[in-house]
Amino acid sequence: MKGIFAKRIKGVELLDHKNTKNMKTEPISLPDKVYLSMVQHIGLRCNPVVSEGDHVDVGQPVGDTDVVFSAPIHASVSGTVVKIEKIMSIMGSMDRHVVIEADGKQTMWEGVKPPVVTDTDSFIKAIRASGIVGLGGAAFPVSVKYSPKNLELVDSLVVNGAECEPYITSDYRAMLEDTEYIIEGIESVMKWLNLRRCYIGIEDNKPEALAKFFKALEGKYHIKVVILKSRYPQGAEKIIIKETTGKVLPPGKLPADIGVLVSNVATVGFIGKYMQTGIPLIEKRITVDGGAVTTPRNLLVPLGTPIYKIIEACGGYKEKPSKILMGGPMMGRAIYHDGKPLIKNNNAILALTEKEAFIEWESPCINCGRCIRACPTNLMPVLLNRAYYNNDFMEMKRLNVQACIGCGCCSYVCPSKRMLNMVHSLGKSKLKEMEKKQ
C-alpha cells in the first residue's frame, strides 16, 4: 500500500540550512598535535598500546583491547607520542588520550595493507582491525554490529543516506565523491555476510546524489535506491528501516533481530575504501558550519584534531561562538570548550552565535499536543513530562519511554519550550539504573 495513501512519517519539517552542499571536501592542513581519545565508540575503553616517547606512523594502532565490544584506535598522523594524559571527554568522563606531536612526514605504517578476506570470520576480523564504528553518529562498533548471534536470519542491508539533520552535508558529499567506494563497500558487506538485498535510502532533497546512484547502480538489481521524503527524522534507524523495508523495529530490539543491518553511507564508503587500501579509520569527512564560522566548509580532518584548529581552517570565528555542537542541531552534543578533539562519530562541527543558540526558558505545559503529533515513534511526551516531574518512573515505563529515539522533535515543536527530549533521556537512564539494581 504505497502511493498517495502511504502514511508519511510524523516528525517535523525543518529548514535544511544545507549551506555547504556544493562545497567539495578538502583536506585540512596537518595539526601540530592530535589528541586521540581511547573511547571513541560505544563499548569498552581501549588501553594505549604505545608509550610516551614512542614514534608512531600513520595507521599504527595506538589503542586496543581484548574485549570484543570495542574498536581499536589508530594514529592519524606520524610523529612522537608526547604524552598519555587523562582529559575530560565531552560525555563528562575522564578518559585517557594519546597525544601525538606530528612530524609532518605522514609516513604510512608498514602494517597498512589491503586485508585478505576469505570468509565471514576473516571479514569481521578485518572490519575490527580497521577501527570502524557507525559513522552516522551512534559510534556502535561495526564489527559487533556485523556479527549478530542470528546472522543467518539477516537478509537485508539498509544503507542510510538520508542525512535529515539541518546544516550537515558530509554524507551528501560522500555520496557524490565516493560513490564507487560506497557501492564496493555494499558489495563486500553483502558478499561476506551473505545478504540478499540492499536498500539505499536517500532523501528527495538530494537529487544529484539520487541521480548518481541510479546511474551507478544500473543493472545491479540486488541494490535498490529508495527515495525518501525529506522530513526529519527520516534517517533515524527505526524510521529508515520501516521506510525502506517496511519492517517495524520493536523497542529494545536490534535491527538484526528483524533481519536487517543498518549502516551509514559513510560507513560502507569507508569499508569499500579500506578493502582496497587497508588504511584504517584515521580521518573523517565533516561539515563545519554555523553563524560564528567565517567560511563554512566540508573538510577531511585527521581524528584527534582540536576543534579550534578545524575552525581556523575555515577562516576562524566570525564572531564569538556561544554554543559549539558536535553533530547536527537536532541531536548533536554541545561541548563546553573548543579544545576538544575530533572523534570518530563526528560528522559536523557547528559553531552557533548567541542569537542562534538561544532557546527561551521553560514555561508551563499548555497540553497543546504538538509533541504527540510530532513524535515519530508515537509516544506521548506531554504525559512523560508530567510523570517525570511526579517522579513516577513506573508510569514513564508504562508509557514506553524506552522506545524514545531521542530525535528531539517534541522539544522542537513545544511552544512552552519544555525540555521534553532531556526528560526522556533522564527517564531512560533512571529506568536502566533501576533495572540494574533488581
Binding site: 554541545a334 514555561s363 504538538r370
Partner: protein, 315 residues
C-alpha cells in the same frame, strides 16, 4: 591540558533549535481570531458590547496578576491567556449585563477555575465557561435578558427580547429569524456568539495557522446536525443558533481541557455535540453548549487515558 580558544560555552541537551512558536504567539493568534466576532458584536449590540469585553479583559488580567503576586508564583501575564479568557467570557454574556456581575464572572474564571488549580495548563475546566455558568446560575434574570440587535455602533437602545433557541423551546416558530439573519448574527443572544460568519472567519484563521486541529469543531457541529435530523429539527438552525459555533471553534478547542490525541478529540466532540442537543431538546435550559463542554471537560482525563497512543512494535 589541551589548548582552546573559547571556553564556557553553553551546554544544553539537544535539540538546539526550535520551531519558534510560543504560548504567547498561540494566544495572540486566538485573540486575532476573536476580533471579527467582536467587531460584528459592536455593530449589532452597540458600544456597550465592546465596553463589556474590555471590562472582562481588564479584570481577568487584574485578577491573574494579583493572584500571581499574592501567591508568589512566576509571573505569566505575558502569555496573554488571561486576555483570551476575558474575551471568551464576555462573548458568552448578554451585552446588557451589569459590569459588577461580569467582574464576578472574571473572578470565578481566573481565580477559581484557573489559578487555584495551578494556573495555565492545569485547569480542568474551561475558565470562561465556568465563569459563565456561575453567572447564569447566580443571576438568572440579567443573564437571560437578551438585547435585541439594532445595527450601528452608537445606539444605546436597550430593548430586550428572546434568543432563537428560547423561541424554539417555547414553540414560537413564527418568531424565528431567517438563515441569512442568523448567519450574519442579527438576532438576540450573547454578545459574541451571534455572528456565525465572523466566528467562521476566526475559526478558519485558527485552522489555517494550525493553532487548532479540525477534529473538534467539525465533529462537534456535525454531531449536533445529526442529532437534530434524527429528532426532526433543522440541523442548520441548531448549528447557527446559540453558542454552538463559538463553542465549537473557540471553547471546546481549549488545549488544556480537551483531550490530547485526535481519537480522544473526536470522542470529546461527539459528547459535546450530543449533550448540547439533549439539553436543547429535553433540558430545562434553552441552550446547552456551556454545560455540554463543561461536562466533557471533566471527562477529559478519562478520555485521555482511554485513547493513549500505542507504540509501534510493543506487544
Amino acid at each position: 591540558m589541551e589548548n582552546m580558544r573559547y571556553g564556557n560555552l553553553i551546554i544544553a541537551h539537544s535539540p538546539h533549535i526550535d520551531a519558534g512558536i510560543t504560548t504567547q504567539k498561540i494566544m495572540g493568534h486566538v485573540i486575532i481570531a476573536l476580533l471579527p466576532a467582536l467587531v460584528v458584536s459592536g455593530f449589532i449590540f452597540g458600544m456597550r458590547a465592546i465596553l463589556l469585553t474590555l471590562v472582562c479583559i481588564v479584570f481577568c488580567i487584574l485578577f491573574e496578576s494579583l493572584f500571581l503576586r499574592v501567591t508568589g508564583r512566576q509571573d505569566s501575564i505575558n502569555d496573554l491567556s488571561a486576555v483570551v479568557t476575558g474575551m471568551l467570557l464576555s462573548f458568552n454574556l448578554p451585552s446588557s449585563l451589569p459590569f459588577w456581575q461580569a467582574i464576578i464572572g472574571c473572578f470565578f474564571a481566573i481565580v477559581v477555575a484557573k489559578q487555584i488549580f495551578g494556573g495555565i495548563g492545569n485547569n480542568f475546566v474551561n475558565p470562561a465557561i465556568l465563569g459563565r455558568v456561575v453567572l447564569l446560575i447566580s443571576f438568572p434574570s440579567t443573564m437571560t435578558s437578551w438585547p435585541l440587535p439594532k445595527t450601528g455602533f452608537l445606539h444605546s437602545d436597550m430593548a430586550t427580547g428572546a434568543t432563537p433557541l428560547y423561541e424554539l423551546s417555547k414553540g414560537n416558530l413564527e418568531n424565528l429569524p431567517n438563515f441569512s439573519e442568523m448567519f450574519i448574527g442579527l438576532h438576540g443572544g450573547s454578545l459574541g456568539e451571534t455572528g456565525a460568519l465572523a466566528i467562521l472567519l476566526g475559526g478558519g484563521f485558527l485552522l489555517f495557522t494550525r493553532i487548532i486541529t479540525p477534529q473538534i469543531p467539525l465533529v462537534f457541529l456535525g454531531t449536533m446536525g445529526l442529532v437534530a435530523i434524527v429528532f426532526g429539527q433543522n440541523p442548520l438552525f441548531h448549528i447557527l443558533a446559540g453558542g454552538a459555533m463559538l463553542g465549537a471553534f473557540f471553547m471546546a478547542t481549549d488545549y488544556t481541557t480537551a483531550p490530547l490525541t485526535s481519537k480522544g478529540k473526536i470522542i470529546f466532540a461527539i459528547g459535546c455535540g450530543f449533550l448540547t442537543m439533549m439539553i436543547r431538546l429535553f433540558g430545562a435550559y434553552p441552550e446547552g453548549v456551556s454545560f455540554a463542554i463543561l461536562f466533557m471537560n471533566i471527562l477529559t482525563p478519562h478520555i485521555n487515558r482511554l485513547t493513549e497512543h500505542k507504540v509501534e512494535g510493543v506487544a
